[in-house]
């Protein structure tokens, strides 16, 4: 593969930079559009769920992968989006209004949690978002009048322009459309000044500030956009589960969301998608081999989370670039074959860096 000649700066601002890339994304989109026509209902439903997690992954990637702010409470945003959307639907609002509204409401929550945490970084932010997530979880459980408490409530089947969004097919197509839209928005942010400001904050707050970046405003926007996108995923999630209950939005879900961006590879949009694919495929893979495992391991209730844990640990220890990092190395290996040098992908020797003073 030879990089194409660049003839204008405009070219660098295109989303698909080469004709080959353009073609492959088009093929992928067409394939995704026809899949429900040829595959069984179960797989279509699972793929719909995958898209929903990919949307949330994109939202969290903007915050964690590009702005460097870790959130261990994103399940709360998913929950807020889901409940807001479902409640508005129940009130009779049309889908096309209630879903974006759910995103906007969640974004407002995102800014609200973002503002007090502006001065925190790294560790404190992780802890306080964790606390925020668990408070929202409790509120969803205890506020009976609004949320139906522990029992939750069934989500109403909506219609768009007379077309009923129901079943696996309905969730599949709506989620796919929203996913494409959200990826487009995220890529727009990343090639615009806002995206660069986010990256600047991730890499050095102090010099970002000297470059004229308003830390407070940029972080709040990042929080808002990330939460808003996750809220959209939440709205769709409500249709995916069909019955909302507060215990689906717990710490475990938050951690799964962060795991998506970590396993996928921080700082890459491909990573968010790869992570979501992995996260949704793993339970299927486990289900397939469950009965063949020795010592009754297959019946252990903690099998799935512990495998997530194990994979997370292994990825962080041995491949901090995540799936995307591995993928880039593979591509590089193919390109340079047989002249590949091992050292090209070797990590530099690292030492303990202080992050107390960032």
């Amino acid at each position: 593969m030879i990089a194409p000649f660049k003839v204008s700066y405009r070219q660098d601002l295109l989303l698909a930079k080469t004709p080959a890339a353009k073609a492959s994304y088009a093929v992928l989109l067409v394939a995704l559009a026809v899949i429900p026509l040829v595959m069984g209902e179960f797989y279509v439903g699972e793929l719909g769920g995958l898209f929903i997690f990919a949307i949330a992954g994109v939202g969290l990637m903007l915050l964690t992968g590009y702005t460097g702010l870790v959130s261990l409470g994103h399940a709360a945003f998913l929950g807020i989006g889901a409940y807001a959307h479902a409640i508005m639907l129940a009130q009779g609002l049309p889908f096309l209004i209630s879903l974006p509204m759910a995103g906007v409401i969640t974004a407002a929550f995102g800014v609200a949690i973002g503002v007090p945490t502006l001065r925190m970084s790294g560790l404190y932010l992780a802890i306080s978002t964790l606390a925020f997530g668990s408070i929202i979880g409790t509120v969803l459980q205890k506020w009976d009048a609004l949320t139906g408490g522990f029992d939750g409530f069934a989500v109403r089947t909506p219609t768009i322009l007379g077309w009923k969004i129901q079943g696996a097919m309905g969730t599949y197509y709506t989620s796919l459309i929203v996913l494409v839209l959200v990826i487009w928005l995220a890529l727009n942010i990343l090639r615009a000044p806002l995206g660069r400001a986010m990256v600047a904050i991730r890499d050095s707050e102090i010099s970002a500030q000297s470059m004229g970046i308003n830390l407070a405003v940029t972080k709040s926007i990042a929080f808002g956009v990330s939460a808003g996108i996750t809220g959209l995923a939440g709205g769709l999630y409500a249709h995916y589960v069909r019955h909302l209950a507060p215990d689906s939005f717990d710490i475990l879900l938050s951690i799964q969301l962060v795991t998506i961006v970590f396993i996928g590879g921080l700082g890459s949009m491909h990573g968010a998608i790869f992570g979501a694919v992995f996260m949704r495929l793993l339970p299927q893979a486990i289900a397939m081999v469950r009965d063949d495992l020795p010592f009754g391991l297959g019946r252990t209730p903690g099998l799935e989370p512990s495998l997530f844990g194990l994979i997370l640990v292994l990825v962080i220890m041995f491949e901090p670039g995540g799936i995307n990092g591995r993928w880039m190395k593979l591509k590089h290996w193919c390109k340079s074959f047989p002249l590949h040098r091992r050292a090209a992908s070797r990590r530099q020797k690292s030492y303990a860096k202080s992050e107390r003073l960032r």
């Binding site: 601002l13 727009n188 990256v199 102090i206 000297s210």
Partner: protein, 255 residues
């Protein structure tokens, strides 16, 4: 009229007086160096000018306006840029992206326009890119354009940080130890960049520096500090021969 005036500025950390009552004025177009032993308060003064610290006392004026209490992120759009002693680049972004972040203070597109990447945003981006390419050409770092900063050698990073500051199109440039970590040749090259920036771009420069050869090569005036106070102010040879300065550096009176 002086472009920058420090009027009796002071900085206390707890009980420690890092800088006490320092006053100086910088004229447009000059290269003004601040020298002094470690702990003299040089970088503290830079941090006050770039508003990372708020002075405990005194006032700072830039271009006739009081900047003592403006928020730190507005400094760049006023026209003050800086580099850092130990390089504070955005390590996981490309050289080009780093320079484009330097253009941030000139970007005026709204959030919604960015979300939709409207043609106004695209045109603004192309304009920023052209400016960044000018700087790339000025500093001759074309071949590193798309590389991550983390993969660049130290000397190149130093130049990139200079370039990022130039992208702000500053009227006042603060250089914090531009030669630190550079070898003799790189330091000499840095001296030429500084001369070019002053001559071709008309930028006023305040520089903190240890390398007296570099100071001598580029400075119009030199301010010598010790323990947060001014020892001497004058041309570089005047300051280098000042008995107070020699005593502060060497620790005894010259024979």
């Amino acid at each position: 009229m002086s472009i920058f005036v420090a009027d009796e500025i002071a900085m206390n950390f707890g009980g420690i007086r890092a800088v006490e009552g320092v006053s100086f004025a910088v004229e447009p177009g000059e290269v003004f160096s601040i020298i002094g032993p470690n702990g003299a308060g040089k970088t503290t003064i830079f941090n006050m000018i770039s508003r990372i610290y708020t002075p405990s006392a005194g006032r700072m004026m830039f271009d006739g306006a009081d900047i003592t209490n403006v928020p730190p992120h507005t400094i760049a759009s006023l026209g003050i840029a800086r580099t850092f002693q130990n390089i504070e680049l955005f390590a996981n972004a490309s050289l080009l992206q780093n320079l484009l972040i330097g253009r941030h203070c000139h970007s005026k597109v709204g959030l919604l326009a960015q979300l939709g990447f409207t043609s106004a945003v695209r045109d603004a981006e192309i304009a920023h890119r052209e400016k960044a390419e000018e700087v790339i050409e000025f500093l001759g770092v074309q071949r590193y354009r798309d590389q991550l900063i983390a993969n660049l050698p130290y000397g190149v990073r130093k130049v990139v940080e200079l370039g990022r500051a130039l992208c702000i199109e500053p009227r006042l440039l603060l250089l914090d130890e531009p030669s630190s970590g550079l070898n003799v040749e790189e330091t000499e090259e840095m001296g030429h960049w500084i001369g070019d920036i002053r001559r071709d771009l008309g930028v006023t420069i305040i520089m903190v520096e240890h390398d007296m050869k570099l100071v001598h090569m580029v400075s119009d005036r030199v301010l010598a500090l010790a323990s947060g106070r001014i020892l001497a102010l004058g041309t570089s040879s005047e300051v280098q021969n000042d008995p107070e300065v020699i005593r502060a550096y060497i620790g005894g009176a010259p024979a």
